[in-house]
């Protein structure tokens, strides 16, 4: 196990370098003046431009620039934006909000998805099963921004049940955005657990448990669920990583002050230091989540051995 963890950690390094380099090149190697429009409706003074080029090492060759950035990064210095804001401060201010939203979404996804999947997987093709299959197809097909706007329109503006935008990001206020964010993955979780339950339902260990005379509740709750939910839990783990990085649309619709809005605004205003900083954090989180999921796999399923 220890050697496997080490090998996986070593595999993360080149992927991390490749991804951050890719983003760095895309952000900083853009043709055009990176300081255009940074000084209001006039050209930036030459002294400002030369100071900024000095600060972001723009006169160095690209690889050297990236290397210097990386060295600062490893020391915990994410740099300063062109308006003098510490990148790390902004990330520290917004990341907890996104984390909260992601956790709410994960909870919604897990509870509703697994329940629907288990209920329909335990039955042969009947009304409930078809209902789950058709409604998951619908959920998969509706883009998140459509769900978001329809929910905002119907429940926020027409019925007035919820506030259309999130003003203070408490857990309670994030329930509706969390539902919207989770809607797509919820359908995948339902289908995954349904397939897994339906496959394991005919396994020998279930028949044995049944023959021993165990009550149905125990067979399903203990024997069947524990074996069937392994792929579901790994899916949920990767999904948490995706939620943390991909909530741009949901956060935009409900005006949640999280990382997604921050990175979107920074990209539009060409705030290079902020974009590279945030994306680096998001990629790191995603890679660590995938690593964690792989390790979790071995813990949950003793049949899997990494040696």
């Amino acid at each position: 196990m220890g050697r496997y963890v080490l090998r996986r950690l070593l595999q993360v390094v080149p992927v991390f370098l490749g991804t951050t380099f890719l983003i760095y090149v895309l952000v900083w190697a853009v043709p055009g003046d990176p300081f255009e429009g940074k000084c209001g409706e006039r050209d930036c003074p030459a002294s400002y431009v030369s100071m900024m080029r000095e600060r972001f090492n723009l006169d160095d060759p690209l690889l050297l620039q990236y290397w210097k950035y990386l060295v600062n990064l490893v020391q915990g210095d994410f740099g300063v934006t062109s308006s003098g804001v510490q990148v790390l401060d902004r990330i520290a201010a917004t990341f907890p909000v996104t984390l909260r939203l992601a956790l709410v979404a994960l909870l919604v996804e897990a509870v509703i998805g697994i329940t629907a999947g288990v209920v329909s997987g335990l039955r042969d093709r009947g009304f409930l099963d078809s209902l789950v299959l058709v409604s998951t197809l619908f959920l998969i097909s509706i883009p998140v921004f459509v769900t978001g706007y329809v929910v905002q329109l119907v429940f926020g503006l027409q019925l007035g049940w919820i506030a259309p935008t999130v003003t203070t990001p408490t857990f309670g206020n994030l329930i509706v955005p969390g539902f919207v964010l989770a809607s797509l993955s919820m359908a995948y979780v339902a289908r995954l657990s349904r397939a897994s339950i339906a496959e394991n339902r005919r396994a020998d260990y279930v028949r044995t448990a049944l023959a021993k005379g165990l009550p149905a509740r125990r067979i399903v709750g203990v024997h069947l669920l524990r074996n069937s939910l392994i792929p579901v839990i790994t899916f949920l783990g990767t999904d948490l990583g995706t939620f943390l990085g991909g909530a741009i649309v949901t956060e935009g619709i409900f005006n949640v002050p999280g990382v997604g809005g921050l990175v979107f605004r920074s990209i539009l205003t060409k705030d290079g230091a902020m974009v590279t900083g945030v994306v680096t954090v998001l990629v790191l989180v995603y890679l660590l989540m995938t690593l964690l999921v792989d390790l979790l796999y071995a813990v949950l399923d003793p049949r899997i051995r990494y040696d």
Partner: protein, 314 residues
Amino acid sequence: MTDHLASLAPEPPDLPARLDHPVRPDRPRGLFGDAWHALRRRPLFWISVSLILLVLLMAAFPGLFAPGDPDAADLSRSRGAPSAHAWFGYDNQGYDIYTRVVHGARASVVVGILSTTGVILLGASVGVVAGFYGGWLDAVVSRIADVFVGVPFVLGAIVILTTLNAGGDAGPVRIVAQVVLSISVLSWPVAMRIMRSTAIAAKQQDYVKAARALGASSARIIGKHMLPNTIAPVLVYSTIALGAFIGAEATLSYLGIGLRQPVVSWGVMINSAKDYLRVAPHALLFPAGFLTATVLAFVMLGDAVREALDPKLR
């Protein structure tokens, strides 16, 4: 653009092509023959196929459904509600929403088909080669794929598209090409991984060993023997992906960085309608409905084909 459609659209229907003649019961059916046999009886399959045909027809000949001009704007009818005269009403600029929804099908379908083709061509060919040869080539390709998977899709697409958009005003062809490129670049690893794992499994089969014993070259083994046996999972993925990419295009256009004027698409319409949601919700709901129905059709088709191709589920 229509000839693109004509040459690319009938991707899934080449399964039925070889089964025009009735299958005699004593004649063994192949994998695809078996799948077609199972598909024919599923109503969901026929519903999705007819929906897709309708959308393709709309994309190829929008004039058939909406003879009006999609660019005819009249501010005096701005945000008009749906009526007998204009079924879907008018948007903020006074465009007829029905006409624009019909004309918007083309951009969405073209982006979907071109990105799927790009993803499948790139992903499947890299995947089959990586799976077949293995070794260092496989390791390098897999790490490169990891790099692209590591970037969250929306985030990566925004960064790529803002970089490409920096060039300033662009014509419709360039705008579409940029969106297709960014979707393909960020999505090929999925197709590659699917193809790679099927290729690794197929490599150890007896027929590959037999072909090699007969002296077939690697290129011939891959092209003639492995491809027909490994294409099914990627084909299923491509059907679902086509729907997903149409949704992705709409998401990017909605964010204001994908397609944009002068291109008409569902995402562009939703983007311009979102600021008037309170006063003119119909301007958002109609394109969103068409978008969802189209994506649903492709996802349903993919689902039906997957069930038909997977003997375990039957």
